[in-house]
Subunit: 445 residues, 2 copies
C-alpha cells in the first residue's frame, strides 16, 4: 500500500455512561459498573479520521487515556503506507516498545490502550478502502492476513505455514458463504435478561420479550448465592423450554473446587457452558474444571479477561476451554485477535466473542463474520454475545433480526460514537455528568 498520507493527530477522551444506576451489567464481581471507554480519534493530514476505543467500567478510564497518550509519539507522524503495508511489524513496534513493555508486558492498561489505537487504525484503513472491516479482511490473501500477526511465543502451537493452510482452505467457496451470511445473519445470544441485580419479575419479563424478538439462546449471571442461582436459572429454563441454548456466567467468583461443586448442582438445567468459573489467569484450574464438567456435557468458556495470545495459546493446548471468548479491546486489536482465531481453528475450538459493554457488539460482529467466511467456514456451535445497551450512541449501530446479527455494510469498524453523545458523556466535563453532579446523583470528582 503506497499511501503517503501522514497521521497528524491522536486524541483520546474519557467517555462514561452511568449504567450502575440501573444495575445494568451487574455480576458476581462487578457490582456497580459504569460502562465507559477510552475513545481514540486518529486524524490524517488530509482530514481523514479513524475511530477506536477500549471498553472500561468507570473509575480508572483516565489511566487508560494516559496510556494512550504515552503511545502517541509512536503514532503521530507515521505514514499510512508504512503502517498498513507492514502492519504486523508496526504492531510489534508498539507492543514491544522497550520501555512501555515493562508495564505489561502485553497486558493490563498498556495493552487496553494499545487496543484502542489499533482499533482506530483498522477503522481508518477500512474507511480508506470503503469497506466494512470484515470485508477488508475477507478480500486479503492468506499471506496478507498472516503478515498482520506477531507469531512470537506462539509457534509451538501454530506456525505461519499452518496459519496459511487454514486460510487457504477458507478461500474455497468464500463467495457462497459471504452471500449466505448476508442473508441469514450471524447467530447471537442475549445476556440482557440475566443480570445479577435484576428481580425475578424483571427476568421473566425480559425473557419473554427476548423470545418474542426471536432469541433462542440465553445467558444468566450466577455466583452470588447457590439457592438464588438455582431459582433464577430454573426460572429462565422454564421460560425457554428444555432445548434452547442456555449458558451461565460466574465472572470469576469461585476457586477451582468450589466452581466444580457449584456448577454440578446447576447441571440439571441443560447448560451449554459455564463462563469464567475462576481466575481468568488460571489455565490449569480451568482445565480441571473442564475435565470435571465434561460428564455433564457442560463446556468451559473464558476469554474476556484473557490478556493476550500467549495465554489463549495455553488454554487451547491444555483443553482448558471449549468455547473461546475473545474480547475486541483487551487484546491489542485485530492483529492479535486474528492469531487467536487461527489457533482456535487449529485446535477446533469455536470462538464465541464476548460483547456488550460499550460498543463491543459493534466490533466483534466484524471478526466473527470474517471467521465464518474465511477461517472456520461454519457457524456451528458459534454465537456472538448480544446485550441491548448503549447502541444508540453509535453512528453505525448493530442490528439484530430474529436473534441474529445483521451483517454491517458501512465502511469501517462500526466504532464511531456520535458527536452529541461524546459531548454529553465525556467525564467529568460532559453535560450529563455536570447535571448529575449538580443533582447529587454522583459525587463531583
Amino acid at each position: 500500500m503506497n499511501d503517503n498520507r501522514k497521521i497528524t493527530k491522536l486524541t483520546v477522551r474519557d467517555i462514561r455512561f452511568p449504567t450502575s444506576l440501573n444495575k445494568d451489567g451487574s455480576d458476581a464481581i462487578m457490582k456497580n459498573p459504569d460502562y465507559s471507554c477510552a475513545y481514540v480519534v486518529i486524524t490524517t493530514d488530509d482530514g481523514l479520521e479513524g475511530y477506536g476505543f477500549t471498553f472500561t467500567v468507570g473509575r480508572g478510564t483516565q489511566i487508560v487515556c494516559t496510556a494512550v497518550e504515552a503511545y502517541s509519539s509512536l503514532v503521530v507522524g507515521q505514514r499510512l503506507g508504512d503502517i498498513f503495508s507492514n502492519f504486523g511489524c508496526y504492531w510489534q513496534e508498539l507492543a514491544h516498545d522497550s520501555q512501555l513493555r515493562w508495564l505489561g508486558p502485553e497486558k493490563g492498561v498498556i495493552h487496553l490502550a494499545l487496543a484502542a489505537i489499533i482499533n482506530a487504525l483498522w477503522d481508518l484503513w477500512a474507511r480508506i478502502e470503503n469497506k466494512p472491516l470484515w470485508k477488508l479482511l475477507v478480500d486479503m490473501t492468506p499471506e496478507q492476513i498472516v503478515s498482520l500477526i506477531d507469531f512470537r511465543y506462539i509457534t509451538d502451537a501454530l506456525t505461519k505455514d499452518e496459519a496459511i493452510e487454514i486460510l487457504r482452505k477458507g478461500q474455497e467457496k468464500k463467495k457462497e458463504r459471504e452471500e449466505a451470511i448476508k442473508k441469514s445473519g450471524y447467530p447471537a445470544y442475549t445476556t440482557s435478561a440475566g443480570w445479577l441485580g435484576y428481580s425475578d419479575e424483571k427476568i421473566i419479563r425480559l425473557c419473554q420479550e427476548a423470545l418474542a424478538e426471536g432469541f433462542t439462546r440465553f445467558k444468566v449471571k450466577v455466583g452470588k448465592n447457590q439457592e438464588d442461582d438455582d431459582r433464577r436459572v430454573g426460572l429462565v429454563r422454564q421460560q425457554l423450554g428444555p432445548d434452547m441454548m442456555l449458558m451461565v456466567d460466574a465472572n470469576q467468583v469461585w476457586g477451582v473446587h468450589e466452581a466444580i461443586e457449584w456448577i454440578s448442582k446447576l447441571a440439571k438445567y441443560n447448560l451449554t457452558w459455564v463462563e469464567e468459573p475462576t481466575s481468568p489467569d488460571d489455565i490449569l484450574g480451568h482445565a480441571k474444571i473442564a475435565a470435571a464438567l465434561s460428564s455433564f456435557g457442560i463446556g468451559v468458556a473464558t476469554g474476556e479477561n484473557c490478556s493476550n495470545r500467549v495465554l489463549f495459546k495455553q488454554f487451547l493446548q491444555a483443553n482448558a476451554l471449549q468455547f473461546c471468548q475473545i474480547d475486541s479491546c483487551r487484546m491489542a486489536g485485530v492483529n492479535e485477535i486474528l492469531s487467536v482465531y487461527l489457533m482456535a481453528a487449529k485446535f477446533e475450538v469455536p470462538v464465541c466473542p464476548h460483547a456488550g459493554g460499550v460498543g463491543l457488539c459493534e466490533l466483534v460482529q466484524h471478526l466473527s463474520i470474517f471467521d465464518y467466511i474465511s477461517m472456520s467456514t461454519t457457524t456451528e456451535k458459534r454465537v456472538i454475545e448480544y446485550v441491548d445497551h448503549l447502541h444508540e450512541h453509535f453512528v453505525d449501530p448493530v442490528k439484530i433480526t430474529n436473534g441474529c446479527y445483521v451483517v454491517p455494510m458501512a465502511a469501517g469498524y462500526s466504532s464511531q460514537i456520535k458527536v452529541e453523545s461524546l459531548g454529553s458523556f465525556e467525564y467529568p466535563t460532559g453535560s450529563v455528568w455536570q447535571d448529575m453532579f449538580d443533582k447529587g446523583i454522583y459525587e463531583r470528582p
Copy 2:
C-alpha cells in the same frame, strides 16, 4: 492493633534516572531502560510517613502515577488500626475494587500501582513498630501472617491450614536462625558484570572487581546473538573457574523450541539456571523448556514479570520453574508475595528474588531474610540478585559484604529515597532533567 491515627495524604512522584546513557540494564528485550519509579509517600494526621514505590523503566511511569492517584480515595481517610488489624481484607478491597479491577485484573499498571501503595503501608507499619520489615514479619504468629493473605484462587495449591503448618515449623529455632543470618548475611549474586551492552573488556574488568569484592555467584545476559553469547558466557566462566555459580538471563527473547536449542549449546558452561527463556505468561512453555533442560542440570528461573499469585501457583503446579523469582513491586506488595513464598515452600522450590533496578535490592532483602528465619529455614540453593546501581539515592541503602547482603536493622522497609535525589531526578521538573534537556542530551517532553 488499636491505632486511631488517620491517613491524611497520599502523594506520588515520577522519578527517573538516565541509566540508558551508560547501557546499564541493557538486555535482549530492554535496549535502553531509564530506571525509574513511581514513588509514593503516605502521611498520617500526626505527621508519620511511609515510603513505597514501584519500579519502572522510563516512559510510562506517569501512567503508574495516574493509577496510584486512582486508588487514593480508597486510602486517604482510613484509620491505621482498621488497615493493619485486618490487612488481608483491606488488600482485597483494593485489589478487587469492582471498577479498577477490570483494568487488570490483578496485573499490569493497576497492580504495579497497588504495589507502590502497599509497600508504603508496610514501611509505615514497620516504622511505627520501630522494626525493620523482616523483623516485623518474624515477630508475627503463623495465624497473623496467614491473615495477611488473599487465598482466593490458590486454595487448590495451598490451603490456610497448610500455610499455618509451614509457618509453625518455621517457629522452631527461629531465634538461632535470626542470630545466624545477622552474622553471615544473605547470599547474593551479581548481575553487574554481564549486561548485554557491555564490551568484552568491561565484562572482564567487572568480573575481576566482583571476585575481588567476594562475589562467587554471577549472572550474564544472553539472547541477542548465539556466537556472542558463547564467547561472553565462556569469558565469564573462564574468570570464575569451573565451579562458581553462573546463570544466564534471556529476558523473554525466545520461543519455546528456540530457547531449548539455544541454551543446549551453552550447557557446557555449567549453568545453574536460564532465566526468562520465553514469554513470562507461558507456563506450559516453561514446563517444556524445564523438562528439556533438566538433563543438563540447568533449571528454569522466572518471575520478575509474573503478574500475580495465580500465575505463580501454576508455574509451581506444572514444574515449570526450579527457581522462583518474585519481584517486590510487580505483585501487589508483601501480602501477595507472602502467598508465593508459602506456595514455593510447599512445592519445595527455592525463592531467589529479582532485584536491581531502583531500590529492588533494598526491598527484597527483607523478604528473603524473613523466608530464611520463618519459612524455608535454609539458604541452600537460595540467593538474592544484586546490582550495584542507584543505591546512593536511598536513606538506608543495602550493604554487601563478602558477596552477602548485610541484614538491615533500621526501622521500615528500606524504601525511602533521599529528598535531594527526588528533587534532582523528578521527571520532567527535576534539576538533572532540566539540565539534560538544556544540553540536548534528552528531548524535552
